[in-house]
């Protein structure tokens, strides 16, 4: 029989290289025998592959070659002792190392904490892998937009027509409710859900039955927090909270049928009160309309159901039932939604995951920079330890034992840095929470997290110790004692390369953060097309809705209040939209989407928007109730010169009376969208008050007086538009600040390393400097001589960083509809700043050397 092809010889060589000789024969024998079987079973190719895999699996401690160390514990004790002696003898060097590593580790731990927290969102549901969020792509004018708002029918149909769907829940969250028990009222956030909500999501009940809790139309479920607020701390022992009734929004009594545990912070679904969706549907007949899309819908699929296959089946659900052609329904795993929720042109392009990725990269970069410091300093100081190494080798130390010695030293450093870092993390946790708006506690620093970061620290120790260990232990003992200061050019080049790399990273981080900061600042200060300062809004409840005109007149009489209007939504957040718009000359297949804002009189004036043409709605014209205002973007679509042209919205015909200058709605990530402003005071659910500049306190007092008089049963709560705006872009602002901090730290660690390197180099060249000075060199000349090598490296690092940064920043800025350009001047300024800082670091040491009295350095020889 022909001998089958041989196993890969390199796999054998690998085995021979690490496997202990007394085991090698049986290991290779067994593998060879198995190889014969594999060839028959799977063919030669697979067999060779398996051979390699199994050969590699022998990389186990028991199989390794043994190094004859007589007493490993004694040797280890000795290494530790030497390591600590070195630390004590070279305090500044040890300080630079430990400080650099600790700072790097602190940043890394914080980032890890943050990332762990971010990735923990929505992961606590029992059947998390089965829960999906339902989305809808909608194609308008060739553009695909993606929404999670759906008509109520989607859930009903999914449950009936698709066997894969176990449960589907239509929900409407972020609703404000006024809860009244007895004579006390509270404003709480909550939502409407179907009774099967609790079969999909795991919000454990403290009291009540999850199966029946929301079955009745007048039932409500509250959280423990709400129960405490309404019924006192002892609500649980009172035992009569279940069955109590609550009045909601002063319109209906609801019976409490369940109390659930407080919603975890890392849940995207947040509520204090839950009411049955059916109750909402009965009050709003429009919900029967397929285009009344307000429900965020979740579906629980069967275990093991293929999402891909299901998405194919479900895609036409909407079109099939409505005859539309432009909708596509699809599901996304619920656990992914928090981090991945930004769709562009029908493609999932990211979301918060971007920040997770950016900061994970920053953590790795910072650790790398700190490791490089360690490597550079260790190898630079090699000549000082060359004699020690030589002597150890001559006495009979193996290279392996020297490697373990240097590894022990770097491990010791890493461990010290770890302890320092953990202490700092504990101490700075509250500050970190303030900065990021998270609620991390010491409990989050649990043992598994601490073990994880200990692991990271040890890896850092191994990485930063590996090169010095290999490099130092390979010294030839014969050559060592003679040439103490000559270092191999390979090592020098590597060190230079690492410095370049460090500074390239630092410059990259700094320029990126400067650009991020500018972008975020641009957003925060950009002209929105309306004045967001001195503007506040509150819900139009009770008398504010029924006696709007009286309340308005009354408010205007009070000091501090400049103007009052009503609007359907905060113009800086989401509005409703529709394709049901008709105008002269509209193409028959045009399905342009328009945003709709329902307002009352005085809207333009109160918002301080600017009119490009025409006029605001006016009480003077009795006919204005059917008329419209449009923004410039809408005017562009409707055709130029739209004033007085007829326009039909929701089938109601009216006239365009004015064009307002474009203002930013909704999000700075998306471009300005065409908007129609309707005069419909009934549908305008928010009361807007413009206060006199600088008299906000007075205005608030007036507002409260009037409010209490007209609406005694409602808690007085209001929101300032500018604060709301800040809140919306808070995560961007936090990211900006964090990025700035980390970039500063990166530069600091790099400079720390540079400082160590120069001080060491200067020390080595003390005699050279002395001789030069004696021969007449100037101080400036010597400083230049000593500094220029390092500055060259920093400069190269800078040059390398430019194109990478340019590319990365443009990639990030593409997310924003309103963005700055990355200007070359930023690069220049950052470059100059980095070089100046590096120069300051380097010249501190070189100046000291240059100014020293040459006699001191030349005296002893």
């Amino acid at each position: 029989m022909n001998k089958p092809q041989h196993p890969p010889p390199w796999a054998d060589r690998l085995l021979e290289s690490f496997c202990a000789p007394h085991l090698l024969e049986e290991v290779q024998g067994d593998l060879q025998e198995l190889y014969g079987q594999w060839v028959q079973q799977h063919g030669v190719r697979k067999a060779r592959w398996l051979y390699v895999v199994h050969a590699i699996k022998f990389l186990r401690p028991y199989a390794f070659k043994r190094i004859a160390v007589n007493n490993p514990t004694d040797m280890f004790n000795n290494y530790v002792k030497i390591a600590f002696r070195n630390v004590l003898r070279q305090k500044s060097y040890a300080f630079i190392n430990v400080a650099g590593l600790s700072i790097g580790l602190v940043c890394c731990f914080f980032i890890l904490l943050w990332v762990t927290n971010e990735t923990s969102y929505d992961r606590f549901h029992d059947n998390g892998d089965q829960i999906h969020q339902v989305w809808r792509h909608m194609t308008t004018e060739g553009q695909i937009n993606t929404y999670n708002s759906l008509p109520k029918h989607i859930a009903e149909i999914m449950e009936v027509e698709y066997p894969e769907v176990l449960e589907a829940v239509p929900t409407r969250f972020s609703q404000q409710f006024v809860l009244t028990t007895g004579d006390r009222s509270y404003r709480e956030t909550g939502g409407y859900v179907d009774p099967n909500f609790f079969r999909v999501f795991s919000f454990p009940f403290l009291q009540g039955n999850p199966e029946t809790a929301l079955k009745g139309i007048g039932s409500a479920v509250i959280t423990a927090r709400t129960a405490r607020k309404l019924f006192g701390e002892d609500w649980q022992t009172r035992g009569d909270v279940l069955g109590q009734s609550l009045t909601i929004d002063h319109r209906r009594e609801f019976v409490i049928t369940g109390i659930v545990r407080d919603v975890p912070k890392n849940s995207t679904i947040q509520f204090d009160v839950l009411l049955p969706t059916q109750e909402y549907i009965e009050r709003n007949e429009q919900t029967e309309n397929w285009y009344y899309m307000v429900f965020t819908t979740y579906a629980k699929l069967q275990k093991g159901a293929s999402l891909e296959a299901f998405n194919e089946k479900v895609a036409d659900l909407f079109n099939k039932h409505t005859g539309a052609t432009d909708h596509q329904i699809f599901l996304q795993p619920f656990e992914d939604v928090y981090l991945h929720s930004v769709y562009r042109d029908g493609q999932l392009v990211g979301g918060r995951i971007q920040y997770v990725r950016i900061f994970s990269a920053v953590a790795v970069f910072l650790l790398l920079i700190a490791c490089i410091n360690f490597m550079n300093l260790a190898t630079a100081r090699s000549s000082q330890r060359a004699r020690e190494i030589g002597v150890r080798k001559v006495i009979g130390a193996h290279q392996q034992s020297l490697i373990s010695q240097f590894m022990t030293e770097s491990m010791a450093m890493a461990l010290i840095a770890f302890l320092v870092a953990v202490g700092v993390v504990f101490a700075l946790l509250p500050a970190f929470n303030d900065l990021t708006g998270k609620h991390l506690t010491v409990a989050d620093l649990n043992s598994s997290f601490l073990l994880g970061i200990l692991g990271i620290s040890l890896i850092v120790g191994v990485v930063s110790g590996s090169y010095p260990a290999l490099y130092l232990s390979s010294f030839n003992p014969v050559a060592v004692p003679r040439s103490t200061s000559r270092q191999r050019s390979g090592a020098v080049n590597l060190r230079k390369g690492l410095v370049v790399f460090q500074f390239a990273l630092s410059v990259l981080l700094i320029i990126s953060t400067v650009a991020m900061y500018q972008q975020i600042d641009y957003i925060r200060t950009t002209n929105l097309g309306l004045e967001r300062e001195n503007l506040l809004f509150l819900a139009r409840e009770g008398a504010l809705a029924s006696q709007y005109e009286t309340v308005r007149q009354e408010l205007l009489k009070h000091p501090g209040i400049a103007r009052v209007t009503a609007s359907g939504n905060n113009p800086l957040t989401y509005a409703s939209n529709t394709t049901s718009v008709d105008w002269e000359g509209k193409a028959p297949n045009n399905s342009q989407l328009f945003h709709i804002i329902n307002v009352s009189y005085d809207f333009v004036e109160t918002m301080q928007m600017e009119l490009a043409a025409g006029r605001d709605f006016s009480r003077a014209f009795g006919t204005d109730s059917g008329n419209y205002l449009v923004n410039q973007e809408a005017a562009r679509i409707l055709g130029e010169d739209v004033l007085s042209k007829p326009l039909e919205v929701y089938g109601e015909r009216g006239q365009i009376v004015g064009v307002v200058k474009d203002f930013i709605m909704n999000s700075l990530y998306s471009p300005i969208e065409p908007t129609i402003i309707r005069l419909d005071p009934e549908a305008a659910g928010l009361l807007f008050v413009r206060t006199e500049p600088g008299r906000a306190q007075e205005a608030l007092a007036s507002l409260e007086t009037v409010y209490k008089r007209f609406n005694p049963g409602y808690p007085f709560e209001y929101t300032f538009v500018d604060q709301e705006f800040e809140q919306t872009y808070r995560s961007e602002a936090v990211m900006g600040t964090l990025a700035n901090v980390f970039a500063g730290i990166a530069l600091f660690i790099s400079c720390l390393g540079l400082f160590g390197l120069t001080s060491f180099m200067v020390e080595q060249r003390t005699k050279e400097v002395g001789v030069r000075k004696v021969l007449g060199a100037s101080v400036a000349g010597i400083v230049v001589l000593l500094s220029k090598d390092f500055l060259k490296l920093v400069l190269i690092g800078f040059v390398i960083a430019i194109p990478i940064t340019w590319y990365a920043m443009n990639l990030w800025l593409e997310n924003f509809a309103y963005r700055i350009d990355v200007r070359p001047v930023v690069f220049l300024l950052v470059g100059i700043a980095a070089i100046m800082i590096a120069l300051a670091t380097v010249s501190w040491q070189s100046m000291k050397a240059a100014l020293a009295n040459p006699v001191d350095s030349l005296r002893n020889e």
């Binding site: 085991l23 024969e25 049986e26 290991v27 290779q28 024998g29 067994d30 593998l31 060879q32 025998e33 198995l34 014969g36 199994h54 699996k57 022998f58 186990r60 028991y62 199989a63």
Partner: protein, 112 residues
């Protein structure tokens, strides 16, 4: 002195060494475990366990003759030492002792 501990997988390997009496070497043991328990184990795991058992004194080993299918390499055969044998018996007795005391009702479901 405390007895040397025998892990679950170690026990299986030790039993298999006994099962393949006088024919127990790496590949044979791996095959036997696969046959008896249905577990598929990599050869390196078998080797690691065998050598751990040897360190603990539960098996002895000697090199056999060269064979062609192993490229002329010899096999290392393993045999159970008296200590290994005692350990296995002890485990078995302990288990049986416990089994006898378990009320039948407590464990009424069996593998079919």
């Amino acid at each position: 002195m405390r007895k040397t501990y025998l892990g679950e997988f170690e026990e299986v390997v030790l039993l298999t060494v006994a099962l393949r009496f006088e024919q127990a070497y790496g590949v044979a043991i791996q095959e036997a475990i696969q046959e008896q328990t249905g577990r598929s184990i990599s050869i390196s795991a078998v080797h690691a366990t065998l050598h751990r058992l040897q360190d603990k004194g539960f098996v002895n080993s000697f090199m056999g003759g060269a064979t062609a299918e192993r490229g002329g390499r010899r096999k290392r055969f393993f045999t159970v030492t008296p200590a290994g044998s005692r350990a296995l018996h002890e485990i078995k007795e302990q288990r049986e002792q416990i089994w006898q005391q378990i009320p039948a009702k407590a464990l009424q479901w069996k593998v079919l």
